[in-house]
């Protein structure tokens, strides 16, 4: 069953204290807002401790260099400087970080500070701690580091050549990982094809979501217990802890992660474990709390970039009617200097191997190389975004070259609603969805029915109009077993998330979550789910803000990443609330003299007898009896705690390592975006004049919150398509290290965004929800397609890059034939 709804112009406001079941699906106002609009949130740099030191990192000015000497003596002479930390100390006191890759990629030695060599501009070399931020910076200027520059490796396409300089002694040919993926029968598909379209090269560029709050931490060390408390904005403490504890040679429980409000993450705050280890060492060494707040330039030069990826020798077998049979490609992924979360990106794309298409025959040769650039890591749409952009480029290039209609060719190749659940050639099971219907809705949003008139109107104004579509998936609730497809020795699989729900002495309902929200409204949506189960108002449900790994609502995969909260986090909240409801019913039945729990029900903060609603026990009495007056209870009810913990575990199975086969995520939300551009043919300057985004993430707990995610993801993808790029010069200097040069969308840059929704509930989740929030990659495809469409009459250039600033469009207009060299069509 699917429902189409368009978001109402005005949000629905729920009256305070309104008590009604059925809060799921309503635009309940956010619990988080009251503190945030008053500036009373607690972000990491708001945390202060007595005598706290401020830390500044001395960073490499070279892309690649040997460190020949470090002298901190002048810095230490400055009054108010507490101490320093250098790579040699780190190497002596910690183990190199655990690596996900198998050898040789897995042999590289990664520490919290550079040891002996620097491998990208901005790499931390020395940490300096002082009484104030300004003083720490002054002291850092006095640290003397001598470098012997080495040749930088910057081009992923030549990084693996034997003649190229090697970044890591342990990693020959700079090749972190290589694997072949072969699904269906590609050779048979090629033989069956009526036409074969070949594309020499497509390029997905480097950018990142650049959260407005940079990374940071306040770290305290308790010398009595040997325990660190890490106030940070790390968004995946489960991962950080398992990376940090072995490095620091301590048990997991010695690292307590705490956060309240986090100023955006988008995946970029997953890999801060590196800096956090340096902070732990400093807190222990200096015997004081230490604060590190990353500078904007540091975030751009040395945080987590989205992976750059090149698609080479692409081959697409096509039938005469436009049916595509699959594809073959060689892919080179550039992970930068270090492999913090990598090489997981080498498998994560395979969650969406055929995109939204019925392509059964796929052959991919995938290589990941390291280069002297900032390390890469998860970035909203991680690894799937690159791949889905590639599938959409295939569709639109094939459509153009075969003179097919981009709408019709999509519909011919889309997986159909009546085929759901659909098993892809590599064993992923798309749970539900109706892509063709979403496309129709998206086209309606941009007035596609009158597009010919709009084209003529634009022409009359000297503009070239183009329409583009982006069809993407937002796969969520990872099966971590996919990690074994890059490294068979790993012992990770499945997924989990935890929630606790308790009823306190005075009847207060308290929820704790294992997640680390960065704006995704977990307090609100968890309260909606719990309120419906306990038959109270969300106002009656206190969801603790933020994350604390000492709350006992923390599991191995706890965190907020990879589109999963609506499944894992809310699944856990639902499970714990169901347990609590059962306990309250059991208690109420006993106190109210009912034969069994079936004879009572929850209603408005009471447990009541169904046959006599006047016979009722308030939640406050339930909480008081169990917590503080339990001698009144019969012995058989003394096991009631009214404090319930539930671990949500999705029904994942181990994938087949040999065939690289299996279901890699539980849910597959989809997005179809359509955009209309108008290009000035003289200059290449263009404007997005209309934009429609249709999202299907199954049941929406809070439609307004879903819409916020759709807006934000679309904006990031429009920014990436039009302006945002991490551009390096030939020496490996980042040319866009701040918001002057790295232009993110401002209010005036954004086109009008129109949205619509189709709801195809997931049959695989307890609430019918699907993880969502990363689906904006569709915008990158839609912009590329719209530009190609607009330029069609100007020599049919091929849009081959995900990055299309005005000057790139101007180049395409000026010299369309150059890009046309990338494509050839073989008639059979």
């Amino acid at each position: 069953m699917s429902e189409t709804t368009v978001t109402p112009d005005q949000p629905i406001t729920v009256e305070e204290q309104e008590v009604a079941p059925g809060f799921i699906g309503q635009n309940v106002p956010r619990k988080e807002d009251r503190r945030l609009v008053q500036g009373e949130g607690v972000f990491v740099d708001d945390v202060k401790r007595h005598g706290m030191a401020y830390v500044h990192f001395v960073r490499s000015p070279y892309a690649h260099a040997a460190i020949s000497a470090i002298d901190v003596s002048k810095a230490m002479e400055l009054e108010g400087v507490y101490g320093t930390l250098i790579g040699e100390e780190v190497a002596a006191e910690t183990e190199a970080f655990f690596q996900i890759a198998p050898p040789p990629g897995g042999d590289l030695q990664d520490y919290a500070l550079a040891v002996g060599r620097v491998r990208h501009v901005g790499e931390p070399v020395v940490a300096v701690a002082a009484a104030t931020r300004e003083l720490a910076r002054d002291a850092a200027d006095l640290v003397e580091v001598e470098y012997e520059p080495l040749d930088p490796v910057l081009d992923p396409e030549t990084a693996a050549d034997p003649a190229t300089t090697q970044l890591h002694e342990e990693v020959p040919n700079n090749t972190i990982w290589q694997g072949n993926f072969d699904y269906g029968d590609y050779d048979a598909a090629l033989a069956e094809a009526d036409k074969v379209v070949r594309i020499k090269r497509l390029h997905f560029h480097r950018f990142s979501s650049t959260p407005l709050e940079t990374s940071g931490a306040v770290v305290e060390y308790n010398r009595g217990t040997g325990q660190w408390t890490i106030h940070s904005n790390n968004q995946f403490p489960g991962f950080a802890i398992i990376m940090m504890a072995p490095a620091l040679k301590v048990g997991l429980d010695k690292l307590r992660f705490v956060s309240q409000d986090i100023g955006g993450g988008f995946g970029n705050k997953i890999c801060t474990h590196v800096q956090l280890v340096a902070m732990c060492l400093l807190a222990r060494k200096l015997r004081r709390a230490v604060n590190w707040t990353e500078w904007r330039t540091d975030q751009h030069t040395a945080n987590s970039h989205g992976n750059e990826r090149v698609f080479l020798d692409v081959e697409v077998p096509v039938k005469a009617d436009g049916t595509m049979l699959g594809f073959k490609a060689r892919m080179i992924d550039d992970c930068g200097a270090w492999t913090r979360y990598e090489p997981l990106g080498c498998i994560i794309w395979a969650q969406v191997t055929p995109g939204v298409y019925r392509w059964r025959n796929v052959r991919v040769d995938f290589t990941q190389v390291c280069t002297n650039k900032s390390p890469c890591g998860p970035n909203r749409g991680y690894s799937r975004m690159q791949h889905l952009w590639f599938t959409e480029r295939i569709i639109d290039i094939v459509a153009q070259e075969l003179d097919a209609d981009p709408v019709e060719i999509r519909k011919r190749n889309y997986i159909r609603a009546d085929e759901m659940p659909y098993e892809t050639p590599n064993g992923c099971v798309y749970d539900s969805g109706d892509y063709a219907r979403c496309l129709d809705e998206a086209l309606k949003l941009v007035g596609y029915e009158s597009i010919d008139e709009k084209r003529k109107d634009a022409e009359s104004r000297g503009k070239l109009l183009g329409v583009g579509i982006g069809s993407t998936l937002d796969s969520g609730t990872n099966n971590f077993g996919q990690s074994t497809l890059v490294n068979p020795e790993l012992q990770f699989s499945g997924n989990n998330e935890v929630a606790t729900v308790k009823l306190d002495i005075f009847g207060e309902i308290v929820v704790t979550l294992g997640t680390t929200p960065q704006g995704q409204s977990h307090e609100t949506t968890a309260a909606q789910v719990v309120a419906d189960i306990l038959h109270v108002s969300p106002d009656d449900v206190n969801v603790r803000a933020g994350h604390d790994s000492y709350w006992n609502s923390h599991a191995g995969f706890s965190g907020t990443y990879a589109s999963q909260f609506a499944v894992t986090g809310l699944g856990a909240a639902k499970g714990a609330a169901d347990m609590l409801a059962d306990e309250i019913l059991k208690l109420g039945a006993a106190v109210l003299g009912a034969e069994s729990a079936d004879e009572v029900e929850l209603d408005g903060g009471f447990v009541r007898r169904k046959d006599n609603h006047e016979a009722a026990l308030p939640f406050m009495a339930c909480g008081a009896i169990v917590n503080a007056n339990n001698a009144v209870l019969p012995l058989e009810l003394r096991d009631l705690t009214l404090n319930c913990r539930y671990v949500y575990v999705p029904p994942h199975q181990l994938p087949d390592k040999e065939r690289k086969y299996g279901n890699l995520t539980l849910t597959y939300a989809n997005q179809i975006h359509a955009c209309v551009v108008e290009v000035d043919p003289e200059t290449g300057v263009y404007e997005l004049v209309d934009y429609g985004a249709v999202d299907d993430c199954g049941v929406r707990i809070n439609p307004l919150i879903v819409e916020g995610q759709v807006h934000g993801a679309a904006a990031q993808s429009i920014g990436a398509a039009t302006h945002e790029i991490f551009h390096y010069d030939e020496d490996g200097n980042l040319l866009t290290p701040n918001f002057y040069d790295y232009h993110v969308p401002h209010a005036l840059d954004m086109p009008p965004l129109k949205t619509a929704y189709v709801e195809s509930p997931s049959p695989f989740t307890s609430l019918g929800t699907k993880g969502m929030g990363e689906g904006g990659g569709a915008g990158l495809s839609a912009v590329a397609a719209a530009l190609q469409d607009a330029l069609r009459g100007s020599g049919k250039p091929i849009v081959s890059s995900s990055s299309n600033p005005y000057n790139t469009v101007w180049e395409l207009l000026r010299n369309p034939d150059e890009s046309r060299q990338l494509v050839e069509v073989e008639d059979r």
């Binding site: 949000p11 609009v37 500036g39 330039t297 916020g708 990031q716 005036l748």
Partner: protein, 161 residues
């Protein structure tokens, strides 16, 4: 040689309260507010004056407080996000931001609110284009600005529940 002046005593009225402090000459206004006065609602997002998270109102002018020295604020009256709801009753802009889901992570919100307040203080009936121009110096990475523009327009029209 004359020693450069390294510090100065300043007197600033912030949200109606007068504060006197000795500050280093190079202390930025944003760090004076955050670190010396513990008014941590004003945020730092970029260090270069591009993002607007640190926007406050100084003597009636919207200012990026990372682009102003604390000593330059001597003798001025500064309004920060903490002053918008002095008695706990939300300012119409604050209520509107919540009603229209104009914030997600909330990091840009204080600066965005102060830019919006400055706009409405001077132009009570702004057009959509004027709203966008007024907040073009404030970066939001979460919302795509759609709901922010709507929230400001609704607050201007007094249409906030």
């Amino acid at each position: 040689m004359i020693e450069p002046v390294r510090g100065q005593r300043i007197s600033v009225v912030v949200n109606g309260d007068r504060h006197e402090r000795d500050v280093e000459a190079r202390r930025l206004l944003v760090h004076f507010l955050r670190d010396d006065l513990d008014l941590t609602g004003t945020h730092v997002g970029c260090d270069t004056g591009n993002c607007g998270a640190c926007t406050v109102i100084v003597d009636g002018v919207a200012v990026k407080s990372c682009m102003m020295l604390a000593v330059q604020a001597d003798g001025t009256a500064v309004e920060t996000v903490e002053g918008l709801a002095p008695d706990g009753e939300l300012h119409p802009l604050q209520q509107s931001f919540s009603s229209f889901h104009a914030l997600q992570c909330g990091y840009c919100t204080p600066g965005m609110l102060m830019s919006a307040k400055h706009l409405l203080d001077h132009n009570p009936e702004p057009t959509d284009g004027e709203i966008r121009r007024a907040i073009q110096g404030n970066i939001c990475r979460c919302t795509g600005y759609v709901n922010i523009v709507e929230a400001i327009a609704a607050a201007a029209k007094g249409e906030v529940k």
